[in-house]
Symmetry: C2
Subunit: 334 residues, 2 copies
DNA sequence: TTGAAAGCGCTACCAG
DNA sequence: CTGGTAGCGCTTTCAA
């Protein structure tokens, strides 16, 4: 039940080397004030004793943990994986660890997760796709001096550090491409989240800007999974739709929509055009290679870490918004 | 640069409540020895002062961090995401945090990552797909009393806790299915890793068991990416292959192989059959829905945490190997 | 039921 | 160049 091995401490090394623990500390941390010879002797002994500095004690003493917390709210696995990968690589490169907290999709558990991270005294927190955090929470955290960065989604009512995709532009991009190809029969299966709604706005603004009637641009909001896309598309099909241009809130929805379309015996891009959002790794290898909007998720993670780090180093600087540009990737589905 | 806000401590709460910090500690941790009334008063004050217990200090005092470390070596993103998801959910449910360390694919950095985790005094470590860890490392860690669990891949020279897929059986399963469908023209594009080689062995053993000549079962070892699969398949095609049954070491390789086949103008499963390994989420939505072997990665993560937890609670128990059964999933590619 | 003392392992600060 | 003292915030132990 308990740790049965007392680990070797600075004191042990010190005793063995016949110096004080202070000297050992300085020696092992490369600080000045120790003669080269002593330092080398200490290093040898430390290695022999398998000394591993207790970073818990260091953290307590220095009130910093060299660890950042990440709370990932629901989102597709690909997004999740890429984000974490980009983030943790950047963090590791800067000598930071990443403490992970994935909160199913229960928004209530976001604050819970944050509390835990604060309690563990992480040096900062990255909130990825957080939905339950508003002005009050941000200000409370701010008052406690906890560096915070929002990824993908951020509250509008407060100024915060954030790195987001320009979702409005992304929606605009996809609609514009389709409009220019001559299509006029649009349907949107939207992701029901704030970036999702932003994409819809971009798409709407683009098409009404081209003179289309907003009433002719039906939107159906739904979840982020393949099953959600399937269900939404089946509904359209059931209502008698036999052709159309389907703009989807994310790639998974697009996959579901394509599945429903193909299942009903229609052709893509013959009868139906489908466009996604994300450009996840396998978008090019689907039954019909997916035309979609690319948002660089891995970069977003890395950028998020850098932004957090910069706030840790400089707590008083003004907030920054890093807005990553989306990009159209044309394949075969539209 | 520094934290400018002194956080409220037990002492602060104690002073405000007019009791000792001991009493506050007991009250807030639900320990006996405090009257209901005092407890309630203390709780109110703690909330008002936004007291957040310093888990770094707790960890130092109690020599446990309620955190486990995970080192993920390279593997496909889907595997990565699913594993982490399953693992972190199980961990969260048990009140543990997850400290992540992804080591690109540099095996040398695995020990480095482990050292860091040990230094941060995690309560245990999960090694996922670790390749650079052998007997020596395991024994060193063991001597320090660090609970360790291997996932997916484990050293053979030492007894360790591990949860793995029965790769030999998986290879066997896929070969047997194909053999029974009447195919005799096998090619293996293997994943060059110990589980990968195990799969090849299963496949070989199965087919030679059916009386086939081992010399007629060519194997090409390669990396785990789509590009690797593509390259390997292109090589076969270039050598004049015009039909065959391609067993792939993982789904990504299969995707690459299929891509190369289709690109060359051949049909699947007409000219070429392709079978994968993993059954990642999108296997059913590929250009040709992929027949593959399913290994439950999420469960593996969850099971891995449970195994680690059980070793943390009971350090002296004998090692356990949890072997998850693979399962054939037939779709259209073979 | 309550609290004082001691100490987890480390480092900042200052004196020698 | 070296080391003593003090204390980070908490909990274990034991005495009141």
């Amino acid at each position: 039940m308990q740790q049965r091995y007392r680990r070797t401490t600075l004191k042990d090394v010190a005793r063995e080397a016949g110096v004080s623990s202070m000297t050992v500390s300085k020696a092992l941390n490369g600080k000045p004030g120790v003669s080269e010879e002593t330092r080398r002797r200490i290093e040898t002994i430390a290695r022999r004793l398998r000394y591993s500095p207790n970073r818990v004690a260091q953290s307590l003493r220095q009130s910093k943990t060299d660890t950042i917390g990440v709370v990932m709210s629901d989102s597709s696995q690909n997004v999740f994986a890429n984000l974490i990968l980009g983030l943790s690589q950047a963090a590791a490169a800067a000598g930071y660890g990443v403490l992970l907290t994935s909160t199913g999709q229960d928004a209530g558990r976001e604050t819970e997760a944050i509390d835990l991270l604060v309690s563990k005294r992480v040096d900062g927190i990255v909130l990825a796709a957080a939905s339950g955090i508003g002005r009050a929470e941000v200000e409370a955290l701010g008052a406690q001096g906890i560096p915070l960065v929002f990824l993908m989604r951020a509250p509008r009512s407060v100024e915060v550090d954030q790195v987001i995709n320009d979702n409005h532009l992304g929606g605009h991009l996809s609609a514009d491409y389709l409009y220019r190809r001559g299509y006029r029969d649009f349907y949107f299966i939207g992701l029901d989240s704030s970036p999702g709604r932003e994409r819809v706005r971009g798409y709407r603004d683009c098409l009404t800007g081209h003179g289309m009637d907003a009433g002719r641009l039906p939107v159906q909001y739904t979840g982020p999974t393949i099953a959600d896309g399937q269900a939404a598309m089946r509904r359209l099909l059931r209502e008698g739709l036999r052709s159309g241009t389907i703009c989807c809130g994310c790639d998974m929805i697009a996959i579901g929509a394509m599945d429903a379309i193909l299942e009903a015996g229609f052709a893509i891009p013959g009868d139906f055009r489908v466009i996604g959002y994300d450009d996840f790794d396998l978008a090019g290898y689907l039954r019909v290679p997916l035309t979609t909007i690319c948002q660089p998720i891995g970069e977003m993670g890395a950028e998020g870490f850098r932004l957090l780090k910069s706030r840790i180093d400089e707590p008083e600087r003004p907030c920054r918004s890093i807005i990553l540009p989306p990009r159209l990737v044309v394949r075969e589905s539209a």
